[in-house]
């Protein structure tokens, strides 16, 4: 017995090494999936506060480009508002009034961002107290940014589109062909459009937008433009490279979107898939 203890004592460094390494790997594999809760991320109180004070300082350097982008967004919104306001003396029918109000929007500021790893995350300065919940979509005036993964009271952590596990349901705007946008981990300006069948004609320059099928994003938010089409190694699908609309290296203000009917849609779809439940 004493021998065993002596043996274990001699191996104590190695045993501690195994324990710590397994602990670290455990953290990696439990928390690196797009679903599930997260603890050791930058949306907790301590990290969030430090990062937002750093961002307060650094954001002065990008004031010019931020203002420009916001002004552009304002202009396009004003244009749309103008088009949507009914003309006073003509008959006006709101055809889809039942669904017109199911998306709610928030704005938030990016306080932490990375683009160079294969699993990139973003931290925003809005959290539970502002009404942010898991699964909300994030985008800016240029395109899709990601999806909310974890929230604390005043901060939230977002899986960036530049995360190799995130799939965004999308379509080609002109032809209404569906696919999924996924980052391949190589270039922060480019992603792949997956699952587009080979018989579909796709030309460079076509716009890719969200499809509105996954109930996270409303339909028609820009994602990017087709850059290259080739017949890849997969037999059934085209290999499409798209240029992302959003410049991830210069994120500042973003919009959060929540679909009020998402739970209803999700539970309906789960019922369809598993009728027994």
């Amino acid at each position: 017995m004493q021998q065993i203890f002596l043996f274990l004592y001699r191996l104590r460094a190695f045993i501690l090494f195994l324990i710590l390494e397994l602990l670290a790997l455990g953290i990696i594999f439990t928390h690196n999936s797009p679903q599930g809760a997260v603890y050791f991320n930058s949306s907790n109180k301590f990290t969030g506060r430090l990062l937002s004070s750093k961002n307060n300082f650094v954001s002065y350097f990008t004031l010019y480009s931020t203002n420009k982008a916001l002004a552009e967004k304002n202009a396009s919104l004003l244009n749309r508002l103008d088009r949507m306001t009914p003309v006073a003396d003509s008959a006006y029918f709101a055809l889809d009034s039942a669904l017109s109000n199911n998306f709610n929007f928030w704005s938030a500021k990016v306080i932490n961002n990375s683009i160079n790893l294969s699993q990139n995350f973003i931290t925003l300065d809005k959290g539970k107290a502002d009404g942010v919940v898991d699964g909300m979509g994030v985008f800016n005036e240029q395109g899709i940014i990601g999806r909310v993964k974890g929230t604390s009271n005043h901060f939230s952590s977002v899986i960036s589109l530049l995360h190799t596990d995130l799939l965004i349901s999308s379509k080609i705007k002109k032809t209404e062909v569906f696919g999924s946008t996924k980052w391949d981990g190589i270039n922060s300006n480019e992603a792949k459009l997956l699952y587009v069948p080979r018989h579909v004609k796709v030309e460079p320059g076509l716009e890719i937008v969200t499809s509105g099928y996954n109930a996270v994003f409303p339909e028609g938010i820009p994602i990017g433009k087709v850059k290259e089409v080739s017949h890849g190694s997969e037999t059934n699908y085209l290999d499409i490279t798209i240029t992302l609309g959003a410049d991830f290296s210069k994120l500042n203000f973003v919009y959060l979107v929540k679909n009020d009917f998402r739970e209803e849609i999700d539970s309906l779809e789960t019922e369809m898939v598993n009728p027994n439940q």
């Binding site: 104590r12 460094a13 190695f14 501690l16 090494f17 710590l20 390494e21 602990l23 670290a24 790997l25 455990g26 953290i27 990696i28 928390h31 690196n32 997260v38 050791f40 991320n41 930058s42 907790n44 990290t47 990062l51 750093k54 932490n112 990375s114 683009i115 160079n116 790893l117 294969s118 699993q119 990139n120 995350f121 931290t123 952590s157 995360h163 190799t164 596990d165 391949d184 981990g185 190589i186 922060s188």
Partner: protein, 173 residues
């Protein structure tokens, strides 16, 4: 270890940590070359520090940095591995005559040749583990190799400069 030394190392721990998460995190050259300067904190601890303490220090500095990098334990895993092999590696490359007591393994104390031999393999292992775990979701290998080697060069270069400027020579020749 005396209290003064303990305070000195705690202070440099905080400094390495703050510089890593607030400055070096945003400094990625060409989109490939990262600088994980904090490994030099582990490398420059005195060689009398037992492996057990090294492991714990490595784990916690890694975990703190993970919080800011949003990398969930990847830094912790690679720093723990670095901490585990460091003392063994120091013993393997011991110069004839052994090490002097109370002389930490820094660039000026040990000379450039020994220091390259000491730090480069350890940095390489650390960076390889970090980028390998990070790239598990992808199936591309060339960016992994480029990242590992360019980051190793960047980290070593900046680390050596820091060693040359901020660490005093303690060995009496």
């Amino acid at each position: 270890m005396t209290t003064v030394k303990l305070l000195k190392y705690s202070f440099s721990f905080c400094l390495y940590f703050l510089i890593q998460v607030f400055i070096l995190k945003d400094l990625v050259l060409f989109g490939y070359s990262f600088c994980f300067l904090y490994v030099f904190f582990l490398l420059s601890l005195p060689h009398e520090v037992p492996t057990i303490s090294l492991l714990l220090i490595g784990f916690f500095i890694g975990l703190f940095i993970d919080m800011f990098y949003d990398s969930f334990g990847i830094h912790a895993a690679s720093a723990v591995f670095l901490a585990f092999v460091r003392n063994t590696w120091i013993k393997v490359i011991m110069p004839t005559g052994g090490y002097d007591d109370n002389v930490p393994p820094t660039l000026l104390n040990m000379g450039l040749g020994w220091y390259i031999f000491y730090s480069l393999p350890l940095i390489l292992i650390h960076h390889f583990i970090f980028f390998y775990i990070d790239s598990l979701g992808t199936d591309v290998y060339l960016p992994l190799v480029i990242r590992v080697f360019s980051s190793m060069a960047f980290t070593f270069l900046l680390g050596a400069i820091v060693q040359a400027i901020f660490y005093k020579k303690e060995r009496v020749v």
